[in-house]
Each structure stands twice: as structure tokens, then as C-alpha cells.
């Protein structure tokens, strides 16, 4: 049987993401990767918590003065909504509706781009205030943690866009269904990390 076999909504399997051996392997391998990612981000969070508000004597930057909650709130809503739109994309994937899946992925990408735009604006704003990467232990820890998350958003966006473009003419089959599924898992994981960033970095930063 060829992986490029055409299906109909009636013959499309219940779990197209792990019907093939390749799909099963991708699925298991990807969860192993997510376990590793959890450790990566935990180390960055630990570093940030240890170095929060610490720097040379007379340092004028603290979390209370820097962070602006309205901006963080908008970014949170954008990323949370993009998580729901990728759930919609996977819903249509399982119903073998390629066009609807692509459309929802497109919405996900646009929301992700908006999030990224706000993050770039935020970093740019800090750098102009003098809160640069090398300014203090606190600033390095902050930019590494939030920047690594931002880099994940960039990778996720590039990944989803490439999948959409590469498979635009192919339509859905058992070859690319696991790829779309795993990309959407990655996107959800980015939102999982952001939940902790907005809580631990921003909200706890403002509270003190």
C-alpha cells in the first residue's frame, strides 16, 4: 500500500496520525522530545527565578517597573486562541477536510505572527530603556527565558507554514497526517510554556 493513497471521508481512519508505523514512531519520538523540552524550560525558569531582580548595585530595573500587564494580557489571549484554532485544524484533519484544516492552520499562523510582533515590540522597548541583554544577570536570564520561548514560536510558525505550502497540492493522506498532528502538538506545547511564563515572569514579577 502506498502512503499517497487517496482516501474519502468514509475510509479515512479514526486515528490517521498513528495508523502507519511511521506515524506511530513520530508520535512516540515527539513526546520524548517534549519531555526534553520540559527540562530545558524548567532549567531556564530556575535560572530566571534565581537571578530575578539581581544585578550590579544601583541597578534601576526591576520587574515591577518594567512589565506592563495589558501587553502581556493581549499576547496571552492571542496565543491561547491560536491553540484553539489549531485544535479546530486537527478536528478537520480527522474529518478528512483538507481545505478547512489549511484555513484553520492559516488562522493559527496569523495569530502566532501577531504574538511575535508584540514580543518584538516589547524586547525593542526594553532595549531602548537600557535594559539590554548584557545589562545585568536579571536581564540575561529574562531575555534567555522569554527569548527561547519566542524562538520556539518562530520555529513553530516556520514549521506549520512549510507543511501547508509543501502539502498544498497533495491533499491529506497517511503520509502527511502525522506531520500535521505533530506540528499541532508542538504548537500546544508552546502555549503550555507561555502559561508558565505569563504567570511566573509577568504576574509574579508585578506582584513582587
Amino acid at each position: 500500500m502506498d502512503l499517497n493513497t487517496k482516501y474519502t471521508p468514509q475510509s479515512w481512519p479514526d486515528h490517521p496520525e498513528n495508523t502507519t508505523l511511521e506515524g506511530k514512531n513520530k508520535f512516540v519520538g515527539f513526546w520524548l522530545f517534549l519531555g526534553g523540552e520540559t527540562v530545558t524550560f524548567a532549567s531556564l525558569f530556575a535560572t530566571y527565578l534565581a537571578l530575578k531582580n539581581k544585578g550590579p548595585s544601583g541597578m534601576e530595573f526591576t520587574t515591577q517597573e518594567l512589565f506592563e500587564l495589558p501587553l502581556v494580557f493581549i499576547m496571552t489571549m492571542l496565543l491561547l486562541t491560536s491553540s484553539l484554532t489549531s485544535v479546530y485544524a486537527m478536528y478537520h484533519m480527522k474529518n478528512y477536510n483538507f481545505k478547512a484544516m489549511q484555513a484553520w492552520l492559516m488562522v493559527t499562523v496569523l495569530l502566532g505572527l501577531a504574538f511575535l510582533g508584540f514580543e518584538i515590540y516589547e524586547f525593542n522597548h526594553y532595549v531602548h530603556l537600557g535594559f539590554t541583554f548584557g545589562q545585568s544577570a536579571f536581564s540575561s536570564a529574562f531575555f534567555i527565558l522569554v527569548g527561547t520561548h519566542g524562538a520556539h514560536v518562530v520555529v513553530g510558525l516556520g514549521w506549520i507554514i512549510l507543511l501547508m505550502v509543501r502539502n498544498a497540492k497533495r491533499g491529506l493522506n497517511l503520509y502527511n497526517a502525522p506531520k500535521f498532528y505533530v506540528a499541532s502538538l508542538y504548537w500546544h506545547f508552546i502555549d503550555v510554556v507561555w502559561v508558565f511564563i505569563f504567570t511566573v515572569v509577568y504576574l509574579m514579577g508585578v506582584v513582587g
Partner: protein, 110 residues
């Protein structure tokens, strides 16, 4: 790679049943999303209201944990069958991550 794939063509009834089931699941996902938005709103409002840090911090951490569990178990389907390996990998990561955080906190606060 796909030698082991058996194609089963559903009857009209089976197909309608599948569609209805996945539509129901999608509806529950929207409910989950509404809960997550609600938890986020509570967290931001509590910080805005300016309560004591000793009161706010544990609660917003708890809200974050609940939201992440919803995300993992519903949006990422960890509640579905066949996710035992996935759970093992993720929880191993969480345990190692917690140890890292506890270690760093201990070094700083001692």
C-alpha cells in the same frame, strides 16, 4: 512503511456516528477553551486588584497548573487511549525539571 494499514470503508451509519462523536469532542474543546480564558482572567484580575503577594502567588501558580493540565489532557489528547508512553516521557521531564528548580532555589535562598 504502510504495509500494515487496513482500509475500512464506513457505512453511512458508522460515518454519521463518527462525525457526531468528533463534533461532540470539538464542542467539549470549546468549553475547555472557555475555562482556560476564565482562569487567565482570574489570574490577571487578582494581580490587578493588588492583594498581598503571599495570597496571590500560590493561587496564580495553581491556576497555571490547572490550565496546563487542561491543555495537555484535552488539547493534546493525553486523556485518549494509547498515551502511556507519552505520559511517561512527559512526567519524567516534569520530575527532572522540578528537581532543577528546587536545586536552584535552594542554592539561592540558603
Amino acid at each position: 512503511m504502510a504495509h500494515d494499514v487496513h482500509t475500512h470503508v464506513r457505512s453511512q451509519t458508522e460515518y454519521e456516528y463518527k462525525r457526531r462523536r468528533s463534533a461532540n469532542e470539538m464542542r467539549s474543546h470549546v468549553t475547555t477553551f472557555a475555562i482556560m480564558i476564565f482562569l487567565t482572567l482570574i489570574a490577571f484580575t487578582m494581580v490587578y486588584a493588588g492583594f498581598s503577594a503571599y495570597f496571590v502567588v500560590p493561587i496564580i501558580l495553581l491556576l497555571a497548573a490547572v490550565q496546563v493540565v487542561l491543555q495537555l489532557y484535552y488539547f493534546m489528547h493525553m486523556s485518549h487511549k494509547g498515551h502511556d508512553t507519552a505520559q511517561m516521557f512527559l512526567y519524567s521531564g516534569v520530575i527532572v525539571g522540578l528537581i532543577v528548580i528546587i536545586t536552584m532555589m535552594t542554592i539561592v535562598w540558603w
